[in-house]
């Protein structure tokens, strides 16, 4: 194993007494002294700052950049405008998932992709293998730092530091070449928490100044740092999938309920199209459902789910939800049985705990 890498914000986390862990080869804070539960509340009520520099960035340039992306993405980017972002799975020909990514369109011949840290190297290799025509790829993961400013106060905090019109920036829109406290950045209205918020990318050399400026501007709003632990709970409350849990090479985006990000009828063929069309026609044996525990018990990844003693699937992500004060989970279940079941059971160690199937997202902001 290589030595775990430090992001440009590592010293900030240490100074804030963050508990550091090795996350897919990156030294990142899992939580800060206020604790995971408080971090969740802080994010929903005010604003928090996350270091998400571990995310990978890839640029795609060239005359055939759009055609190339149409081939590797399940989503359709033909209507994507400059300055807009689209979420899309990337599939293998068998419909299994390589990764789920964000695609930023700078212009028709230049795109900026954001990929999961754990998948960054694998993705880049896959992207390269699929290249055709006038397409140039660059793996920029090592060059960019990224912060996520999340929560209802995010806009006010960030607006103090930039002339860019953040009110005019809608959800899933971005601006490249924005000065944030003098640091050249890409600013997007995106996030992984289910709250309003922004993600700011800059080159490593500007990272420290960017963090300090955001931190200082945030103090009036009692901005707090937040770590990977609360990020995972926040995304679960918002029912956002996480690769390795809801998505993998053995699970398709249709199983994960991501149908609206799979343009099955896209006129240009894409990787996985036939397999996914076939799966749609033939039916799906495991599909993602939301669970809410009816008795106290923490549903965790891998726990079996049962209906009438029969095993009907497994928990892919689960936790106590501080926002809802409930125990919630996402689970891959036999859809036919699940739809008929008023109640199911989650097997926690040796005992079965009652749960009901519930709509997702568990939490949606007003």
């Amino acid at each position: 194993m290589d030595e775990p890498k430090k992001t440009p914000f590592y010293d900030k986390h240490v100074a804030l007494n963050g508990k550091i862990i090795d996350y897919h080869g990156w030294l990142l804070p899992v939580q800060f002294p206020q604790g995971l539960v408080e971090e969740v509340h802080d994010t929903r009520k005010r604003a928090t700052i996350f270091d998400v520099s571990h995310m990978g960035e890839v640029t795609v340039e060239g005359k055939e950049a759009e055609a190339y992306l149409q081939k590797i993405l399940t989503n359709d980017i033909s209507k994507l405008k400059d300055g807009a972002i689209i979420y899309s799975p990337v599939c293998y020909p068998d419909g299994g998932v390589v990764d789920d990514i964000l695609v930023y369109r700078i212009n028709s011949e230049k795109y900026f992709l954001v990929v999961n840290a754990a998948n960054a190297d694998k993705d880049y290799k896959w992207f390269e293998e699929n290249v055709f025509g006038d397409v140039r790829l660059q793996n920029r993961s090592a060059d960019y730092a990224q912060i996520a400013l999340q929560g209802p106060d995010s806009k006010e905090i960030l607006q103090e530091l930039t002339a860019a019109d953040l009110d005019g920036m809608k959800f899933y829109r971005f601006q490249p070449d924005v000065s944030v406290a003098g640091v050249n950045s890409i600013v997007s209205r995106t996030g992984y928490t289910g709250e309003d918020g922004f993600e700011v990318y800059c080159k490593n050399d500007g990272a420290s100044a960017l963090w300090d400026a955001v931190w200082e501007a945030g103090q009036k709003k009692d901005l707090r740092p937040a770590g990977l632990g609360s990020r995972d709970v926040l995304r679960l409350e918002a029912s956002l999938p996480l690769y390795g849990h809801e998505l993998s090479k053995d699970l398709t985006p249709l199983q994960a309920g991501l149908d609206r990000f799979v343009a099955l009828d896209k006129t240009v063929p894409f990787n996985g199209q036939e397999a996914l069309q076939k799966q749609k026609q033939e039916g799906i044996n495991r599909k993602l459902f939301g669970l809410e525990m009816l008795e106290r018990g923490v549903p965790r990844e891998g726990y079996p789910v049962k209906a009438d003693q029969e095993e009907i699937g497994w928990v892919s992500s689960g936790s106590y939800s501080p926002t809802l004060d409930k125990f919630i989970a996402m689970a891959f279940l036999d859809p036919e049985v699940a739809r008929q079941s008023e109640e199911v059971h989650v097997l926690i160690r040796t005992r079965s705990y009652r749960a009901k199937i519930t709509k997702m997202p568990f939490y949606r902001r007003d």
């Binding site: 995971l36 965790r300 936790s319 106590y320 501080p322």
Partner: protein, 133 residues
């Protein structure tokens, strides 16, 4: 020392504490352990009457992110469990040595209790453990 260690209690290497009380031992989780676990959201208690064995899991304590076994500090029959924890597991965080007790076990062999660490020994133990982290 950032963590509270109480005089008069006995401590295990897995961070349980035990307090002698009329022929039984009251068992709980140390302040150090509850700090390390974080916000506790769920407790699985042993059955009253169950036989527990020293060093074997007797209860399960879960925080948002972690599942931890609570090991019995000594052999014996469980005489009482703290059912208040089922609805308010966070009491372990708030008062680990008091209201946050987990179960009581009859003392069969007092030497098992005697062999556990006292306050100074446990303090030294957690300082070492912190250094190793």
């Amino acid at each position: 020392m950032d963590y509270k260690v109480i005089d008069g209690l006995k401590y295990t290497r897995q961070h349980e504490w035990a307090r002698q009380e009329n022929g039984t031992a009251v068992v709980g989780l140390s302040d150090y352990a509850q700090h390390k676990l974080g916000e506790i959201v769920f407790v699985e208690l042993p059955d009253v009457g169950a036989e527990v064995e020293a060093g074997k899991s007797a209860a399960v304590i879960e925080s948002v992110k972690a599942v931890a076994d609570l090991y019995a500090p000594l052999d014996g029959k469980v005489t009482e469990v703290n059912e208040a924890l089922l609805d308010q597991p966070e009491v372990i965080n708030q008062d680990p040595y008091g209201e946050g007790w987990v179960f009581k076990v009859e003392i069969k062999d007092a030497s098992q209790l005697e062999a556990l660490m006292d306050k100074p020994a446990y303090e030294e133990f957690i300082i070492k453990e912190e250094e190793e982290e």
